[in-house]
């Protein structure tokens, strides 16, 4: 890396054998269960979208490095591959190939390289790409197909959260069973349907200490508290916290998106504020917003606060006086 001048953390500094590529490859390994689950549930559609996103991300990265006359070094660190996989996993299976490619190009170009490449971006690149697609092609991004098929049916099909939001699923008794949410046999984005696969990958990352345990825990706690209060108040109208944890993009967001090392805060206090904020915003959007799902916007929203949190929730330097 040519820019090794700034380390924004107080001492002690440990030197260990972790390196950017090593961390990135651990993330790729941890995504394997989710990728396999998506291949199982959505067959050919998953293969096409995953390949398209990864190739487009890497190609865009290479193009920018070439234009900016930077060494191709950072192409091999795997970060573009991760962005590609994460983006693909958050796309609806029925999305057409060219839209997926547009999303991938935007993710790398507007989400990452415009800010100066890996380490400089404010927002999670994969989510920038997805947010762009969501706004640009809303209809395509909200068309879903049932799992265990790769056929695109024109009949509309709702995700578990869509049923909850627009068809009053709790009162009507058509809420998706938790077992389906856990295993993944339901509609939704490629990689978010199977809670089991995501939890396996997340535990691997926690075990390897690649991600900060405070982030998934904080998001989990605040979302559970928020949805729990309403559920206890009126279980005939609101879904249980467990449903909110297993449905939609919560798990992929909490384990793989919010924990992005570049776009999450440095200090423990900042991390707690960041994580609790994400969970709260998810609950707010899901229960009272116009969209059925709010994980993407919540993470992007809190990403914007990270520079601020790094400044104000800085740990005290050893010997520094507490401010009056």
């Amino acid at each position: 890396m040519p820019d090794k001048k700034l380390i924004l953390q107080s001492s002690p500094h440990f030197k260990d054998r972790d390196s950017v590529p090593k961390i990135m490859y651990a993330v790729i390994v941890s995504l394997a269960p989710a990728v396999i689950a998506s291949l199982y549930f959505f067959r050919l559609r998953a293969v096409i979208l995953l390949l398209a996103c990864v190739i487009a991300c890497v190609a865009t990265e290479a193009l920018f490095l070439w234009v900016r006359k930077r060494p191709f070094h950072s192409l091999y660190d795997g970060s573009a591959v991760i962005t590609g996989i994460l983006l693909a996993l958050t796309l609806p299976p029925s999305l057409s190939l060219e839209l997926a490619i547009i999303g991938a190009v935007v993710a790398i170009a507007l989400g990452k390289q415009i800010f100066g490449g890996l380490g400089y971006n404010i927002f999670n690149p994969a989510l920038v790409g997805r947010a762009f697609l969501q706004t640009a092609f809303t209809a395509d991004m909200t068309t879903w197909i049932p799992s265990l098929t790769d056929k695109i049916d024109t009949a509309t099909y709702a995700t578990p959260l869509g049923l909850l939001k627009f068809q009053d699923a709790v009162a009507q008794g058509i809420l998706t069973p938790l077992k389906n949410l856990f295993l993944g046999n339901t509609g939704g984005c490629l990689g978010e349907t199977s809670a089991l696969a995501l939890i396996l990958g997340g535990l691997f990352l926690l075990f390897r200490r690649v991600i900060d345990w405070r982030i998934p825990l904080g998001i989990f706690l605040s979302l559970t508290a928020f949805t729990g209060i309403f559920w206890i108040a009126d279980p005939g109208k609101y879904a249980s916290p467990l449903f909110h944890i297993l449905a939609g993009g919560f798990l992929i967001g909490a384990f793989f998106m919010a924990t992005d090392l570049v776009t999450s805060p440095l200090s423990p206090l900042g991390t707690w504020i960041y994580a609790l904020g994400i969970g709260f915003t998810i609950g707010l959007i899901r229960l009272f917003g116009g969209f059925p799902e709010g994980v993407m916007y919540s993470i992007l929203f809190m990403n914007a606060f990270v520079p601020l949190l790094n400044r104000y929730a800085r740990p005290r330097i050893l010997g520094e006086r507490r401010k009056e």
Binding site: T142, T154, F166
Partner: protein
């Protein structure tokens, strides 16, 4: 002349000149602007109440205006309800044509909307939304079909189709339509809106 007198004099004369000038411009364009607005409304009324020859305004309140469409002989052939209600982004204003006894909707036309292009904005699109409003039975409350049906034939006689991905917008229009129908029924009872006339069908 002292400075303050000069300041007052300059500002006053600039203000007076500008005011006089604008008064002239206002006078010149006033009629034309009113005409533009009226023309737009008249066009929509004739579109939603087929066979309209002349128009009479029956009643007006906030967010609701009721017009009557008359044929060549001056006989009332339908009502045009000009109503607005909150959509997803902002107010949506539409014109709904009904028969005089308020049991049937001829059709619906949108006058103003600022919904999301490609989604909610489809309310102004014949193929995705407006055609599902043609010839609907509105003697009972209109309901929304969720998820959307693909053709008008699949819908019930007083069922309206949702725009895929814009449930909130579709619901907003439906609610405004239901509440304004209810209000007009009440107005007819109070004698504020005339329903004398012959139904087209």
């Amino acid at each position: 002349m002292s400075l303050s007198t000069r300041m007052v004099a300059v500002l006053t004369s600039v203000g007076l000149l500008s005011g006089g000038f604008l008064a002239g411009v206002g006078l010149l364009t006033k009629e034309r602007i009113a005409l533009n607005k009226q023309q737009e409304i008249e066009e929509k009324i004739s579109a939603v109440v087929p066979g309209t020859y002349s128009i009479e305004k029956f009643y007006e309140e906030k967010d609701l205006t009721v017009y009557g469409g008359k044929d060549k002989e001056g006989k009332l052939i339908g009502l045009a309800i000009h109503a607005s209600g909150m959509g997803f982004q902002d107010k949506i204003t539409f014109m709904m044509g009904t028969n005089t006894s308020l049991t049937k909707i001829f059709s619906l036309a949108i006058l103003e909307q600022t919904e999301t292009p490609g989604l909610g904005a489809k309310v102004d699109d014949k193929k995705s939304f407006l055609r599902f409003w043609e010839n609907k039975d509105c003697s009972s409350i209109l309901t929304l079909r969720k998820p959307a049906a693909s053709s008008p034939e699949e819908l019930g006689t007083s069922e309206i189709n949702t725009i895929t991905g814009a449930t909130i917008t579709s619901e907003a229009i439906l609610n405004t339509a239901n509440s304004s129908l209810e209000r007009v029924r009440q107005l007819i009872k109070e004698g504020k809106v005339s329903s004398e006339g012959q139904d087209a069908n």
